[in-house]
């Protein structure tokens, strides 16, 4: 009997000790983790916009996040946008055809909006009882001195094996500025080549019109184009070559047509959906004369 007591006491003590160690480690690291995650995210975004450590982003530029929610009650569904207004946040509810249903300003701390769980709570509070808001996606509108200069979109679609996660940048006319592959599990040497410059950069500079019926061709990538895409040759020559191939379709990766095609389709659908939605959102904002930060 005494044995059991000592065992229990010692186990409890060791558990408490262990919990203290882990708990303090968690508290110490958690802040750093969030900070680093944020920094990394920013890095990817700035890189897509063409900024880096050598070429820092100017102060006049600002990134505005737009969070899209799907609000549903028993009968129908609505689209809700959480966006930053001139002061504070605005939650705008549109019906499926784009008519404004509701427009509320939201008093919330900016740090809270960045955290998905906190944000979800806030939004569900706004839509009120009987309605349910589900986070759908987030896009970023980049402005310079109040003028829109780019959009940053991200998305996920099925590749050859599992999901491919991408982030892409377009200018205000939806011409592609860049594409970054964030995650994928394609085969090394085949589908995994989608993360290489010579594949990703083919998308650069494709206009919205081109993008609408962009296809994948199963032809070998011309040598000069490859070098220009990889940035192996002088910038001037490269620009000429890139221009020459500018209106071509995407050259599929050798041996990985399916991966190439799914990236192509994925990018197309992300941009098309965004363009459609942004148009509706802008019309609604203009109609209601809502002042927003972008």
């Amino acid at each position: 009997m005494k044995d059991i007591f000592t065992i229990i006491i010692r186990l409890t003590v060791s558990c408490i000790l262990a919990a203290t160690v882990m708990g303090s480690a968690f508290i110490v690291t958690n802040k750093a983790k969030k900070h680093n995650e944020h920094v990394n995210e920013q890095k990817v975004r700035y890189a897509l916009l063409g900024y880096s450590a050598d070429k820092p982003i100017p102060d006049s530029m600002a990134l505005h996040e737009v969070y899209r929610y799907i609000v549903s009650d028993k009968q129908s569904q609505y689209i809700g946008y959480l966006l930053s207004g001139k002061e504070g946040f605005i939650f705008l509810t549109l019906d499926l055809s784009g008519k404004v249903i509701d427009n509320k300003s939201v008093e919330v701390d900016e740090a809270k909006v960045l955290e998905k769980e906190e944000r979800d709570k806030v939004v569900n509070g706004i839509v009120g009882a009987g309605k349910d808001a589900k986070f759908a996606d987030q896009t970023i509108i980049v402005t310079n001195n109040g003028e829109r200069i780019a959009y940053l979109l991200d998305g996920k679609f099925t590749g050859f094996k599992t999901f491919i996660g991408v982030m892409l940048a377009t200018d205000p006319k939806f011409t592609l500025l860049g594409l970054e592959i964030l995650e994928h599990e394609e085969d090394p040497g085949l589908g995994a080549e989608i993360e290489q410059d010579y594949f990703r950069n083919q998308f650069k500079g494709k206009t919205f019109e081109q993008l609408k019926d962009l296809d994948v061709v199963k032809e070998p990538l011309p040598d000069e184009y490859f070098q220009a895409l990889e940035g192996d040759i002088a910038a001037e020559d490269a620009a000429k070559i890139l221009k020459k191939y500018g209106d071509k379709d995407i050259y599929a990766l050798t041996g990985a047509t399916i991966s190439s095609r799914s990236v192509n389709n994925g990018v197309k659908s992300i941009v098309k959906k965004f363009a459609y939605r942004l148009n509706i959102l802008d019309t609604a904002l203009a109609e209601q004369k809502i002042e927003v930060a972008f």
Binding site: M22, A136, T158, K161, D187, R277
Partner: protein, 313 residues
Amino acid sequence: MMIRRHFTYWTAVLLFILAPVLLQAAELASGQKFGAENEIILTYHAPVDKTTMQDGGMYTVFEESDPDIRLEVQKVGISGDGRSVSLLFAEPLNTAKTHVVSIRDAGGAEIESLKVAKSYIGYLLSILISALLVNNFVFTKYLGLCVFFGTSKRKTTAKGMGVVFTIVMVASALMSWFFYQFILIPYGLNFLQIVVFIGLVSLTVQAVDTILRKVNPILFNSFGVYLVLVIANCVIIAVPLIMANNNYSVFETFMLAFGAGGGFLLALYLMSSVRERLELANIPTTFKGLPIAFIVAGQFAMAFLGFSGLQLF
């Protein structure tokens, strides 16, 4: 006699092979499915009215997560007997997402609304197949190698070990799922994952040990030896960790654990049958023992590359 002895094996094999047919047959009756990459097929028990159903305007189709974006129906095809309607779209569909098809009459009133998705059972089975073959825990994820090389010398040992592993894996994974969903997440204790999962694994092993000792002492005598080995093994603890990473539901967790255990059993069984054969071979001295086992495992891994990209459902 021989046939009867293997009857169960072959029924299992046959069921496994026929599973896709049976599943798809079951789906056909339910009425809607994806056809070609840009096609949705609706089937009806009675023939539909061809002239009215031909109108593309009556169908509203969208992805469930994007209700504001309507997919344009380019063409409606109706089969000769009028029982199946095929909707063709301009763009390939994202079959990973659930699509909603709502059919309205001329007045705009909704006749019916259907959800088209890849079947959930198919998805569950694909998790199973993935853990079992495509991403076999031993040959492509390199988990549990210590036990794998340690206990694959004899076929009987391998079988016993594999079965014990599967049982412990399923039990501990389900418990871990419960703890993860109802304690770790709600209270923000996700960082305690490792401690909680390893504790649950040890607990399961202890429970299996006690139960088996009481219920079936003979089985216990043949299994008991391996139970100790199970605790400190990465293949077991990996299942709850993967579950937590992917946020699996309880069924998905079960399939993952079952597939992982089955895959481990399969790998052990194949390896042990090969190693029994290798004992007769004249292997160079420097390669005797573990090195040769590694190289054989590497060859197995190369053969298992054949499963890569396999999508049965």
